[in-house]
């Protein structure tokens, strides 16, 4: 039983960050969301090379937070299939924006083209307005 955790504040950014703000959770979500990974061993094979104890811990925490769920693989009863819940899928806009920012700010980064579907022009238009306001406030 995982200890009940008290968040540091009522800020939604802080809440999101406390759930996903470690070095690994977001990458597991990424692998589920975009790379179609489902099994334990597949997560171990990511470029960032998560170690097995950390992977087990994060899968447990993500399941506890109800971002992912696991079911037994009918084809192989000794393994689980991990998948995103709808709450986990709802993280997609965050991931998309992280991809976008990363690509724009590090030439070395790259990602398969199919990752970038879903950017919505309405949102972009709104963002431009908002960015203009903040830029002005910061004298940029």
């Amino acid at each position: 039983m995982r200890k009940k955790y008290k968040y540091r504040s009522n800020c939604p950014i802080n809440f999101t960050q406390e759930i996903l703000g470690d070095k690994w959770s977001m990458l597991i979500i990424r692998d589920l969301m975009f790379a179609g990974k489902r099994h334990y061993g597949e997560f171990l094979k990511s470029d960032e090379k998560i170690s097995t104890n950390i992977l087990a811990d994060r899968l447990g925490k993500l399941e506890h937070s109800e971002l992912i769920s696991k079911t037994i693989d009918k084809n192989n009863l000794s393994k689980n299939i991990y998948s995103l819940t709808s709450k986990g899928i709802d993280l997609m806009p965050i991931l998309i924006e992280m991809i976008s920012w990363g690509l724009n700010n590090n030439d070395k980064t790259m990602v398969p083209p199919e990752f970038l579907k879903g950017l919505q022009t309405d949102k972009i238009k709104f963002m431009k307005e908002l960015k203009r306001a903040v830029s002005k406030a910061h004298g940029v």
Copy 2:
């Protein structure tokens, strides 16, 4: 001189996460972006209560990553003004999506009223726009 850091992979999500994936950096960006904070002491006053040594460290790292910049406050030569660079402002979509997800997934969370102080726009009007835009972006 900060040691040159090698990222674990070429994934843009990993890159973004390595820069912002600690418990404090994102909150400093938040305070600059939405709460209009500019001075050292203001950051110390956030609900999450960052300690002074961590704050100094993160301000240094964020400046090194060129997400923020600091200039001497002409009105008080013993203090600095911290502000977002355009690279920092470009993080806004990520923060907005984090706010949206946090609000949708934790009833306790709410947007702090002081969030809009730095924006030169009417608070209520801004919130309505924000809600409408985010909802629309999510097909709601």
